[in-house]
Amino acid sequence: MTAIAIDALPKSESPTWRRFRESFRRHPTAIAGGIVLLLMILIAIFAPWLGSVDPQAVTPIRRLKPPSAEFWFGSDMLGRDVYSRVLYGARVSLTVGIAVALLSTLIGLAIGLVTGFVRWLDAIVMRIMDGLMSIPPVLLAIALMALTRASVENVIAAITLAEVPRVVRLVRSLVLTLRDQPYVEAAVAAGTTLPRILLRHILPNTMAPLLVQATYVCASAMITEAILSFIGAGTPPNIPSWGNIMAEARSLFQIAGYLILFPGIFLSLTVLAVNLLGDGMRDALDPRLARRM
């Protein structure tokens, strides 16, 4: 990942962005991913107006009804409308995915920039990151969630903490190569202050690979959220999320498979869309790599 990302460094700014747009046009899968993702975001925003009812409304006489004209995706064991729950569930997954991508990129960027330039900090911080990285990320998120109250904010915090070390690694490796570039040495020689070098000279050149990394973080965060909710350590049951809709259907899947099928399809589609978008961006930013991956 790291080595790949270094290769992805743009040589100069404006041709990169032109190339970016051109290759984007040449990648129909990335476009398709973008459209699906946009659709999901619209669904999440407009969930209350898409023919849905209150996702928490219980109708005990209509329990476990298979999909029909009234319940498009069927109803669950409490008689709640699965279609509405799945639409509202898009909110949780997308919020978690996007929030984790933003937060872990920002935190990782800040830590990575500073440790890449300040030698003595580097050794200490990287040991801590190594320690965190040696715990499988899903496991780390599970442990954190086990010890806090179940809430969407805590899910975001737990997954962010599990993802940050990888971003730090990427940023640090980028900074380490950039640091020895002649233009940075020139800036140092000219007496530019450290914060200014970091912000003006280093930061812009880490953006492209970070953007690609952020989409992958987003995809993996959505899967992690679903896993956490699925094993009962994630989003609380009073907020419908794709993970906990499936968790509640766990014992019922033999008689009501649709309870798992619909949120499963939505989740898989969204993650697929984000991944395709990420692949498209990576190819666009590094045409040499496009042939290989």
């Binding site: 499988p136 442990a143 806090t148 899947f253 991956m293």
Partner: protein, 298 residues
């Protein structure tokens, strides 16, 4: 490893949620809770507890489960066989499928074979383990009735039964891993196939099979084994979910149960165990570099 131990312990110490209160139940008074806390040593300062924990750890003692009062090592020992069977089985099947897939895709780069492998790889990344697991159960166990729906049979009850119960869990768990390895194998092979020595080998008339396997694959091996090692993290996270879906009584189930009861010692023990296994596997991977690339020396 020391850092891992420290991080694991402080995480569990710093986060809120009081096991004494849970253990005591709803009817307990503050006094009861305080007594339980004192008995479990939960009221001692951070470093005293950490010191005690590390000391016990070095003696192979992971503490006692707060809930069942059994030693954590005992609980883990009871549950370890299914988890080891599941992960090893998945690991072997995945590598056996993914590496040839990647090699073939690289050899036929640009053709429909290549595109199919890459499409599978993106899909594999995107479908979560448990969704795939339910699709597999729905197809092969319920509709076709070929394989058991859930459960686990120990190896000593017969290899065939054991294998039948592991096929679906391993497939579900292995798909992401196969996708990852196939992708890296293909990329690494393409890098190597562009090298001069590969052209030389082709020029001297070796069969394409000999070139691919004898010359290219070995030189492409370092990134492949690296990703096999790193990917173990996916397997470990996925195993917890897979065991829940397939009702396999392994460590993953133990973890999920412990989470619901806030049984700290078990959670600490399991994370330490998994992280330890992860670190060891990756150490072994680092060692294997010497075999694949004799220029690397430690």
């Amino acid at each position: 490893m020391a850092v891992v131990a420290f991080v694991v312990f402080s995480l569990l110490y710093l986060t809120p949620g009081d096991p004494a209160a849970i253990l005591a139940g709803d009817a307990a008074t503050d006094d009861d809770i305080r007594r339980i806390r004192a008995k479990l040593g939960l009221d001692e300062p951070f470093f005293v507890r950490f010191g005690g924990w590390v000391w016990a750890l070095l003696h192979g003692d992971l503490g006692t489960s707060i809930f069942t009062n059994l030693p954590v090592t005992h609980l883990i020992g009871q549950r370890i066989e299914p988890t080891v069977a599941l992960t090893l089985c998945t690991l072997l099947i995945s590598v056996a499928i993914a590496v040839p897939l990647g090699v073939i895709a690289a050899a036929k780069v640009g053709t429909w074979v290549d595109r199919a492998v890459m499409a599978f790889s993106v899909l594999g990344f995107s479908v979560p383990v448990f969704v795939l697991a339910y699709v597999l159960i729905g197809t092969f166990s319920i509709s076709l009735d070929w394989l058991p729906v859930q459960g686990y049979r120990p190896l000593r009850e017969g290899v065939w039964q054991w294998f039948r119960h592991l096929v679906l869990p391993s497939t579900a768990l292995g798909t992401v891993y196969i996708a990852l390895i196939a992708r890296i194998t293909r990329a690494s092979m393409l890098d190597v196939l562009a090298q001069d020595y590969v052209r030389t080998a082709q020029a001297k008339g070796l069969s394409s099979r000999a070139v691919l396997l004898g010359h290219a694959l070995k030189n492409a091996a370092v990134p492949i084994v690296t990703i096999i090692g790193i990917g173990i993290a996916l397997l470990i996270g996925g195993a917890i979910v897979t065991e829940t879906v397939f009702a396999i009584p392994g460590i993953g189930r133990l973890t999920v149960d412990a989470i619901l009861r806030r049984d700290y010692p078990i959670i600490q023990g399991v994370i330490l165990l998994f992280s330890g296994a992860y670190v060891l596997v990756n150490l072994a991977v680092d060692m294997s570099y010497m075999y694949f690339d004799p220029r690397i020396r430690y």
